[in-house]
């Protein structure tokens, strides 16, 4: 087993990959939890598997840990095939959901568990250092049930990290914490990851958590990876409606393709003519066929219909009427119904608020065409939303 020094570079195969899953799948009888998938996690990165519950993300993680035998495929860690190895022979450690701290051992012994099993000598110093890293030095002799949720979470991280695993696996480690503590722990985990330089594979259903922490996010749905990439790429150019809806909110408008000859694809939705840069469309656009045009709510500007003339040329425009306005402090979130669709969502920063933008007002939604993205019209527009759950 190759261990990494706290500040060193992680061991990896020649391509710089720490975890490589090849054609890995998991079936339980007739049910397929994970469809054959390939995944490569770059060494030293913070990698997130994101998806709704039951999408196969935890099963995938457990197959890396060895707690679940894959039905097909191989798991390679740092170039070494570990598919057949039991969990206690794999150079990975897991932070379990609800932590799974040993209730009969104190914090010190919990953290020392892995070292003792491997017969490491300098247990005392290492445990002390690790408890200091997670700021729990004073709690060494407490029992897990005497600690708060956040403290238990840190013990779970320390218990795994002290073994200098090649890869640290985190199974929804923040799920049980309240929102404020969760934000704090997200930063804490990110800090620890940067400090120790170990590859983290993080499973979560919280898209905000995945985007805040991870360098690379793989969005999973129905046992498949829908899309993988840097958070900003996934957010700005989703390739499927599921990703567009699951990662933040998207307004998806089905439109007819009018012209594909220029740099911009020209489309028509109801009475609006929309432009979409060809390079921002992942589907093949053919004249006369349909395409889904997506735009994020914060990229849209709302202008009252009386001032429609002040909107600069070259922007995509859509008519509508405000049905709801929700004030959230930083921004106001509007819901707009129009000919192109109902329930269009618009977030406006509360900088110069127009007093006329109240429910019932006629408005024009407009945005820079460069912010739109194009998707294949053959998919459900509601995939990944609450309404489309399970599709």
């Amino acid at each position: 087993m190759t261990t990494t020094a706290p500040t060193g570079t992680p061991s990896s195969d020649s391509s710089g990959t720490d975890v490589r899953l090849t054609g890995i799948s998991k079936r339980y009888g007739a049910f397929t939890a994970v469809h054959p998938l390939d995944l490569a996690v770059p060494g030293g990165s913070f990698f997130a598997l994101l998806g709704a519950s039951g999408c196969g993300k935890t099963t995938t993680l457990r197959m890396i840990a060895g707690l679940e035998d894959p039905s097909t495929g191989t798991v390679r860690l740092g170039g070494k095939d570990v598919t057949g190895l039991p969990p206690y022979k794999r150079p990975v450690n897991t932070v379990f959901q609800s932590y799974a701290l040993f209730p009969h051992l104190d914090i010190y012994e919990n953290v020392a568990f892995g070292l003792r099993r491997r017969g490491v000598k300098s247990v005392k110093k290492q445990v002390g250092d690790m408890l200091d890293l997670v700021q729990l030095g004073d709690f060494a002799r407490r029992k897990p049930q005497q600690l708060s949720g956040g403290q238990q979470q840190r013990v779970a991280v320390a218990r795994a990290l002290i073994n200098h695993p090649q890869v640290l696996l985190l199974d929804e480690p923040l799920g049980a914490l309240d929102l404020k503590l969760r934000r704090q722990m997200q930063l804490e985990l990110k800090r620890i990851q940067t400090e120790v330089g170990i590859t983290f594979v993080h499973v979560t259903h919280d898209q905000e958590e995945a985007m805040t922490m991870a360098d690379t996010v793989a969005v999973m749905n129905g046992g498949r990876v829908e899309q993988m990439g840097a958070p900003a790429d996934l957010y700005d150019t989703p390739r499927t409606t599921f990703v567009a809806n699951f990662l933040g909110t998207s307004n998806l408008i089905t439109a007819d393709v009018l012209d594909t000859s220029g740099d911009d694809i020209v489309l028509r939705a109801a009475d609006s003519k929309l432009a979409l840069p060809a390079h921002r469309c992942t589907a093949t656009a053919r004249t006369g066929e349909k395409l889904i045009v997506g735009i994020r709510p914060e990229k849209i500007t709302l202008t009252h219909a009386d001032d429609a003339g002040t909107i600069p040329d070259g922007r995509n425009r859509v008519r509508g009427r405000i049905t709801e306005a929700g004030f959230t402090g930083v921004s106001t979130q509007y819901l707009v119904d129009g000919p192109v669709g109902t329930g269009l969502s618009v977030y406006e920063q509360n900088i110069e608020r127009d007093g006329r933008l109240v429910p019932g007002a006629d408005v024009v939604l407009h945005w820079n065409p460069g912010h739109s993205f194009g998707l294949d019209a053959a998919q459900s527009i509601e995939a990944g939303t609450d309404a489309g759950e399970g599709t």
Binding site: Y88, F96, A100, F102, F113, R117, R141, A160
Partner: protein
């Protein structure tokens, strides 16, 4: 309370309702304590009588009437023929049935709680039978079985019978504990480089220990004072409960009270020590 109920008679006729109100209020406030004290008294009284009469010096063979204080029986607990022999035999049987029932019961409990196999539900039902069946029926059927098999009654038949009926209680106690155990703890141990054996010894067993200990204590107590099943299957062997029963026909030596008191005292001491240790662990 007596003083309070008398009060209305003494109070002026103008406000006769005040005092009963106060009484009922006092009653309501202290009802739980009163009920608790009454229950405790109900439980402790027989033991207190046994203890008091262990210091008696009876006239004649029966220790049923208080005569005068004496420590004769305490200074000579084995003064009655066969008493200490039967006691040590009972302790020996209780010890080995506890060991046998605990080891077997723990393994059965793990099998039932952890694995799905074909005979699982029938095994569960079968284990429940000794608890549900009238003891005398079980005793008689066991005796018939041993007779038909041509086994000589004695130490071994008693031991086998005791292990059999203690088993159910151990399984019940351990199973409850194993069922409530988070399976992720064992996965976590494996994830932290513990082999299956180490996982069992370092994680599973310590966590299941309270259940196993409870089952073992129960088995010991049940085996030690079992009379009916033992009586049917002991042949000429005499355990302590059988000795007491036999002695009671001819007269009750004070030494029986001494042994009873001592056992009670030891049990109370065990509980107290357990609570003290547990309490300290919780506080630290």
């Amino acid at each position: 309370m007596a003083a309070l109920t008398k009060k209305p008679a003494g109070t002026p006729a103008g406000k006769p309702t005040r005092a009963p109100g106060r009484t009922s209020r006092w009653l309501r406030r202290n009802l739980v304590v009163l009920a608790g004290l009454a229950t405790l008294g109900y439980l402790i009284l027989p033991n207190a009588v046994v203890t008091v009469f262990s210091f008696n010096k009876p006239n004649g063979r029966f220790n049923y009437e208080w005569q005068r204080f004496s420590t004769d029986a305490w200074t000579d607990p084995c003064g009655v023929a066969d008493l200490c022999g039967s006691l040590s035999l009972s302790l020996e049987i209780a010890f080995w049935s506890t060991v046998g029932a605990t080891v077997l019961g723990t393994m059965i409990a793990f099998a039932l709680a952890r694995y799905r196999f074909r005979a699982r539900s029938s095994v569960s039902t079968l284990l429940f039978l000794p608890m549900a069946m009238p003891e005398v029926v079980m005793a008689a059927s066991l005796a018939t079985l041993f007779l038909n098999m041509g086994v000589t009654f004695g130490f071994w038949t008693v031991l086998i019978a005791h292990i059999m009926f203690c088993l159910s209680f151990v399984v019940t106690a351990v199973k409850a504990r194993v069922m409530s155990m988070d399976p992720r703890l064992e996965q976590a141990a494996q994830d932290l480089y513990a082999t299956p054996l180490q996982t069992f010894l370092r994680v599973t067993l310590p966590i299941a220990a309270p259940g196993i200990a409870a089952g073992a204590l129960l088995a010991f107590a049940l085996s030690f004072d079992d009379f009916i099943i033992t009586n049917f299957n002991a042949g000429s062997t005499v355990t302590f409960p059988m000795f007491v029963w036999g002695a009671a026909q001819r007269g009750t030596p004070v030494q029986i009270n001494v042994i009873g008191t001592a056992m009670f005292g030891i049990a109370v001491l065990c509980v107290l020590v357990g609570q003290l240790v547990g309490g300290r662990r919780k506080r630290s």
